[in-house]
Amino acid sequence: MKTTDQPPEIFRSSARPSILEYIGLERINGPLLVVQGVKGASFDEQVEILVAKGPPRQGRVLSISEECAVIEVFEGTSGLSQVSTRVRFLGHPFELAVSREEVMGRVFDGLGQPLDGGPLLTKGARCDINGLPINPVARVYPEEFIQTGVSAIDGMNTLVRGQKLPIFSGSGLAHNELAAQIVRQARLLSDDQGFAVIFAAMGVRHDEAEGFRRSFEESGVLQNVAMFLNLADDPAVERLITPRVALTVAEHLAFEEGMHVLVLLTDMTNYCEALREVATSKGEVPSRKGYPGYLYSDLASIYERAGRLQNRPGSVTQIPILTMPDDDITHPIPDLTGYITEGQIVLDRSLAAKSVYPPVNVLPSLSRLMSDGIGPGRTREDHQDIANQLYAAYARAREAQRLAAIVGEEDISPIDKLYLRLAREFEARFLGQRPDENRTIRETLDLAWELVMLLPEQELSRLKPADIDSHGRGQTRAGAQVPWGEEDE
């Protein structure tokens, strides 16, 4: 384990010619093939499945024993014959040749094959799509602020370079619009160091993918985008490879070519469902809701491929999107994602029903890297405090809303009425913005001050008196009378 000297001769691998071919299958079960009596193949090896008609299909070895090898087929198994199918073991894990000139501005399928009629990826170093774990010692703690122009994110859940910040959404909510707006507006893009957007679609509809493409085109970034599309009618198992292909490209661009890369992964729920499908076909012991026990580790092997490294100029920032089944944030997919990613942006159906765009519910949302990415020299010295105050006030306002729903708005205390007003204005003016509205961080913070100053100063326990003087005083003090003053005298 801990030696560095050369292995003695007694160590041997399964020596064999580099490519092995077998004809005939023992069993076909869902997306899985079982080939009997395979000698010399190895775990996680890439496989080509040759059929009489049609192009060869891709697969990989899931487990291998003396009896048989189990192979998952990304394009699905329909049309395969038990007798004549030929299985070719390629002798290496799934690999991709990556170079900047060959991927930028292109469209590929979920396995990295061109969809745009362009050439195959052949130039550049061949990389194992599974990547390698990053040594935590080599990482740089992410702390460069990215201005997205969206107040709910910049002001209260700040995104920083090298972060993985997912959008937890529900079906029919505006996650795609929000993601597209972030890509258009993110200041990451105006950087002179070169940037790239990697878009990986897993099981999304054609129109959604087209919407993203058009949005990239309109904002003039299409030449810096590479799209990997596994659409809703593409084989489900292929989705297991798509994010890994996309991230392999992203890592190459960031860490070899020094670019700042923003990776959009949508929709991770479809990915997890494909994983469950394969696990079930293999007859594995399920844990929660039928998902395999290793869902956490598997998701981590995707999400952890983000960040910045010492002595390398580039960065990988990830925005995965997932739709919470039945809007349930405790469902295993959002739950495990939240444990791995550095926060989450949660979209909310009740806000969407009030026509608030983007319908970000800030209370369950979080950016874990926020406190390091903001403050003097990055955004503004009052950022953390005003964000905390706004959080506390909005949480209290939600309480007041609950109370008002029970006893009626007339019968709540004057201070609660102020909170109600704050909640309304916060949702309409702070959260709400147009899809093409790009607010500076200064505008966002000033708006936050304007809102909290609706409350009397006694309520502002998270703010420093000096900050109230310098940022709060200029604001309109509409409701700033002492609330209990009314009963006095």
Binding site: M1, K2, T3, T4, P8, F11, R12, S13, S14, K39, G40, A41, S42, F43, D44, S63, I64, S65, N130, L132, P133, I134, N135, P136, V137, A138, R139, Y141, G162, V285, P286, S287, Y294, S297, A300, E304, R305, G307, L309, T330, D335, L336, Y339, E342, Q344, L363, L369, D372, Y391, A392, A395, R396, R402, L403, I406, V407, S413, D416, S461, W484
Partner: protein, 604 residues
């Protein structure tokens, strides 16, 4: 591992075992007769590290600590004749290791930014010269665990070189004071049976075996963390056990980091078990910059990190907990107080589940193996304050984070953990989403140590600590009941004596329990400050009773400037002196007295 490769039992190379099955991190090899249970093995050309976890008939089952891509049938498996162990000696402090004690800094220097398979290095630096001062002389009788000499490991830490626990006998020879590397022989001990042991500055110890001690103690010393809700409300002892359960985003990691920074333990072992890479990087960047409030030295000089991030192999995650606790026990045996943070034990349990699933074992609850509870119990039992083999007192305090799926505390890992820990700091999503930190729910949390540490507080801080705490808890409990009414009818509907409870609880919540990790002053509160702060809040609470009794509307009292001063005390007063508290107390009395007097006068 070591440079002289251990001999293969049975000798001939053709007796090597071969891989017969690969499924993720679990492989099978034949013949099983070449191995013993829990033996370390190397697999394939790249010599991936693994451990034998079952022997069944012909077949040995092995969990591999690295990614098994490319391992196929017929790859060789080579037993090292040793169980999974750690190297214990000077040079651990300030380092970061992976789950099987590979030194991550050296790996990064030697192999680059990514962790490659089969690449490793010696856990402890073999070149470094340590200045050794012997404390024993030749001819003396030695027993296991005794202190042979000392090495200054960091400016604030004296490393006591221990006789390995299983060695005993007459000290034949010991080197004079001087500079030695880890590979130098520093002593020879001959046992009664005539067996001779060569001792070095370090020794090895199997991670799954508890290190022996003379006697376990019932600790009465609190582990002071500088966090008010913990020290005052739910205290932990040196040698105690605590769990921090909470859904994502409830501040588990921040709490663990706060404890890593401020606890008054001598050594901190921080295990990042299956967590985010950036978090470990954050710890690595922060600790050298932050100063220990007691010694004034960078915190990294008392910290050891074990990092097995979530993208690193799952089997090594399972091992990381044991690697960490064995290191902690080693420093305990030198007579130190060690605090071990494990973030998160749920990821460790999931690693168990994943391997168990690959072994096709019959699952119990939610796919976890039936032995989950006994493994958890065995882990927490390694905590404790002890009399060491060298007759010193040392302790290992265990603080485990738990990440319950969906924040549901009834899931197996949380519910089993609850059975084995004395302290339960429940984190709450509601509190966290209002940015109320630390989000420790005072109604769900408990500590079994409050009575045990009371004498310490009486001795060191002041009389009546436990009474203050109990009274404050009573107010909070009372408040929780009233909040049910408030939620239905609003605060306005309550009479003034109940409003006083609500106000008192608000003062406790906002002015005492809530503590900002990012505020320079508030981040740490010493025991004295905690005591005075609580005392003054309860004093005000008592005086408010007089106001209510005099039928003065409560809101008048709440306008008094002294109240705002109390709210801000936590972040304005740094030191532990009582004078400013005394002054504020006088101000409160003056303002309340004036209020009472004016009311008295005007009602005539």
């Amino acid at each position: 591992m070591n440079n002289s490769r251990p001999q293969i039992q049975g000798g001939a190379p053709e007796a090597l075992a071969e891989v017969t099955k690969v499924s993720g991190p679990v492989i099978k090899a034949r013949p099983a007769s070449l191995f013993v249970m829990n033996e370390l093995v190397e697999v394939g050309e790249e010599r991936l590290a693994g451990e034998v976890i079952s022997l069944d008939g012909e077949l040995a089952t092995i969990q591999v600590y690295e990614n098994t891509s490319g391992i196929g049938l017929g790859c060789s498996v080579h037993g090292l004749g040793l169980p999974l162990y750690v190297e214990l000696g000077p040079g651990l402090i300030g380092r970061i290791f992976d789950g099987i004690q590979r030194p991550l800094q050296e790996l990064c220097q030697q192999w680059g930014d990514f962790i490659h398979r089969g690449r490793s290095g010696a856990p402890l630096d073999r070149e470094h010269l340590w200045t050794f001062s012997p404390l024993r002389s030749a001819g003396e009788q030695l027993s296991g665990g005794e202190i042979l000499g000392e090495v200054a490991e960091s400016p604030i830490l004296t490393h006591r070189v221990l006789v390995p626990p299983e060695v005993e006998g007459r000290l034949e020879r010991i080197v004079p004071p001087g500079d030695y590397t880890l590979d130098d022989l520093i002593a020879r001990v001959s046992s009664a049976t005539g067996h001779s042991h060569e001792l070095k500055l370090f020794h090895r110890w199997p991670v799954r075996k508890i290190r022996p001690s003379r006697k376990r103690l019932l600790s009465a010393d609190p582990l002071i963390t500088g966090q008010r809700v913990i020290d005052t409300f739910f205290p932990l002892t040196k040698g105690g056990t605590a769990a921090i359960p909470g859904g994502f985003g409830t501040g588990k990691t921040i709490t663990q980091h706060q404890l890593t920074k401020w606890t008054d333990a001598d050594i901190i072992v921080y295990i990042g078990c299956g967590e985010r890479g950036n978090e470990m990087t954050g710890v690595l960047t922060d600790l050298p910059r932050l100063l220990d409030p007691r010694s004034g030295r960078p915190l990294i000089e008392r910290t050891i990190l074990v990092a097995n991030t979530s993208d690193m192999p799952v089997a090594a995650r399972e091992a990381s907990i044991y690697t960490g606790i064995t290191i902690a026990e080693y420093y305990r045996d030198m007579g130190y107080d060690v605090a071990l943070m494990a973030d998160s034990t749920s990821r460790w349990a999931e690693a168990l589940r994943e391997i168990s699933g690959r072994l096709e074992e019959m699952p119990a609850e939610e796919g976890f193996p039936a032995y989950l509870a006994s493994r958890l119990a065995a882990f927490y039992e390694r905590a404790g304050q002890v009399i060491t083999l060298a007759n010193n007192t040392g302790s290992v305090t265990l603080i485990g984070a738990v990440s319950p799926p969906g924040g549901d505390f009834s899931e197996p890992v949380t519910s089993h953990t609850k059975r084995f820990v004395q302290c339960f700091w429940a984190l709450d999503k509601e509190l966290a989403s209002g940015r109320y930190f630390p989000a420790i729910n005072y109604l769900q949390s408990y500590s079994g140590y409050s009575r045990q540490v009371e004498p310490w507080w009486r001795r060191r801080v002041g009389e009546g600590w436990l009474e203050l705490r109990d009274r404050a808890m009573e107010i909070l409990q009372e408040d929780a009941k009233l909040q049910n009414i408030v939620r239905l009818l609003g605060e306005e509907a309550l009479p003034d004596d109940q409003k006083r409870i609500i106000e008192g609880a608000r003062l406790l919540k906002d002015g005492f329990l809530q503590q900002s990790a990012f505020d320079e002053i508030d981040s740490y509160a010493g025991p004295e400050k905690q005591f005075f702060l609580l005392e003054i809040i309860l004093h005000l609470f008592d005086r408010l009773a007089e106001v209510v009794a005099a039928r003065i509307p409560l809101f008048r009292a709440l306008e008094l400037p002294a109240i705002w001063a109390i709210y801000r005390l936590k972040s304005t007063l740094k030191g532990d002196e009582s004078a400013p508290f005394q002054a504020l107390r006088e101000q409160i009395d003056l303002e309340i007295d004036t209020l009472l007097r004016r009311h008295h006068e005007s009602s005539f």
